[in-house]
Amino acid sequence: METLNFILPPSNYVAVMPQIVLVATALIVLMIGIFKKLVNASVIGYTALAGSLVALTCVFLSGQQAGPSATFAGMVLNDGFSFFLTLVICMIIVLTILVSLNYGRFFENIKSGEYYALVLFSGVGMIFMATAGNLILLFVALETMSICIYALTGFHKDQLRSGEAALKYFLLGAFGSAFLLYGFAFIYGATGSLDIIKIAGFIKSHPQILHFKFLVAGLVLMIAGIGFKISMVPFHMWTPDAYEGAPTSITGFMATGVKAAAFAALIRVILVPLAPMEHSWVTIMWVAAFLTMTVGNIIALVQDNIKRMLAYSSIAHAGYILLGFVAGTGLAQAGMLFYLMVYAFMNIGAFAVVALLCKKGEEFNSISDFAGLGFKYPALGLVMSVFLFSLAGLPPTGGFMGKFYLFTQALRSGYIWLVVAAGVNSVISMYYYLRVVVIMYFKPQPAENAIVLNSVSPGIVIALAAATTAVLIMGIFPSYFLSLAGNSIFSLM
């Protein structure tokens, strides 16, 4: 019997430092959670916050090293795209934890160590999804993220709708990942590798393979599988229910983090390796983009629950982002990343405001609950208006710049009808976003059952201020962020 000698591949641990920090923090938070009775409950949340801030610092320190490189035998890619997405995801984690610190004052379960540990673990999954250079790692990362989110969706154990949302999300999510895996299997069968760079090389050197049906089947199944995660129509059925039932802090996390990570994975597996099959996937994306934005916007019109409305709005936004795939130019793809960043800030901001409106053990989720808030709490009303204007795509916010950029790029590539549809959709969407603003400012607050904000934790003030500033800066001075997004797309390995 010969002995086995494992020689580890040369590994750049600096490249995965944010993930290591997040895992370590999650384990520490779990340990503190055991001694919940001995320490102040807020210690748990602040430890998680400190850990995620350290991870964010690590991204800045380690980021943008010289040239793109692959480490861990090609499993982890360390390029500008990884840097950009890791940055966005770390910021989303920090904002989510800030929101949760306030939200946890109303709900006992949100204070627990398990909650923060699962948020951090799912953050690790998201970062690995964006940096994966191998479909094995991509799949495991996607499942790490999803399993944490399934559990977090059911975290209001005393509310039936939370458990129900977890059930629906879990069953449809697992169904979707089976399709994704079957797609990976066919791509493996066609190209003989699961490594993204090797797949790209194989397809480039064997052009005849493009007519091989396994590759097409793999592509379609893979888009369907990731489509479940980005809530692309017709795989969006779980979105409104899961978003409505989940704790509001987690809804914000799901709407931004999961979507950013899933779009990153889609860009990684489709743009570079399957670039020669563009003619196949552009058609799919065209139809998907059109259906996604239309269905999302039209159903959002009739919603009375703000979380459900924002859920349909997030479906519609996925449709706008898909425009970047259709347009196909490098600039359009940069616009896609820029929009993803703006979307993260404006959406998590809107959900942060919704998460503020709670009382002990209860959420105010109806749109009519917003009546009169604009004058009673001017700062809150102003901030919410900024987020809603940005979601509607009005200047001078980041949402306007993002849409403008994506639409012009799609127009330049000649997709006039799709851009017209997107424009009509944007106009439709203004109705339901501005309705909330109108209710906030022009409807009197009801006499009974009025919302009273006693004291607000400093964390959420910082979170809201940061998100508002980011949305406005990206709207007024977009060039820096656009060039960052452009660099990250062009360094895509």
Binding site: E2, L4, F6, I7, L8, P9, S11, V16, V23, L27, L30, F72, A73, G74, M75, V76, S112, E114, A117, L118, F121, S122, V124, G125, F128, N134, I136, L137, V140, A141, E143, T144, I147, C148, Y150, A151, L152, G154, F155, K157, A166, G189, A190, G192, S193, I209, F212, K213, F214, A217
Partner: protein, 167 residues
């Protein structure tokens, strides 16, 4: 001989899978699922991947399925009581999915995979699937994914304990 073994085991796997979705009793469904796992394990053996076959029996049939059966027994879910089941079998969705199935089937049957030359060098078929080759992949090329699996399992345990705990 080889083809006969495939047809017998494959037929058993298909029959078990069909019985999973056709049984009215949840416990029976779970037991047929165990049968499906065992039939798949034999297919893996026929494909020269002994290690995966062993894992299939120990992990899938042994651990996961027993876990599910335990949960069914604990929740006392033996009575499925699905009156709408037979109705929906005939509804439109069934037909749509059946067509989809046929399309995929045609795809699977019509094309045999390209015989690609692996990059691991010329191993004989008998050597393929031996545990030391897999170990070499796991602990050298796949180390990052392997570590992430440990994070995923930790997260799953934390989440499951929290959700199922009575408090």
């Amino acid at each position: 001989m080889g083809l006969l073994a495939i047809i017998i085991c494959g037929g058993a796997a298909l029959a078990c899978a069909l019985l999973v979705i056709l049984s009215r009793n949840t416990v029976h469904s779970a037991l047929w699922m165990v049968g499906n796992c065992l039939a798949l394990a034999v297919l893996f053996l026929l494909l020269n991947s002994q290690f995966i076959a062993i894992l299939q029996v120990i992990v899938y049939a042994g651990a996961i399925m027993m876990f599910i059966i335990y949960a069914i027994m604990m929740l006392n879910l033996r009575e499925a009581g699905e009156d709408e089941f037979r109705k929906s079998l005939l509804s439109g969705r069934f037909i749509v999915l059946f067509l989809f199935m046929i399309c995929l089937l045609a795809l699977g049957l019509g094309l045999s995979p390209m015989a690609l030359k692996g990059e691991m060098g010329p191993h004989s078929l008998a050597k393929f699937g031996e545990v030391n080759l897999i170990a070499n992949y796991i602990f050298v090329q796949g180390i990052a994914a392997f570590e992430l699996v440990s994070v995923m399992l930790t997260a799953a345990v934390v989440g499951a304990v929290f959700l199922a705990r009575r408090d």
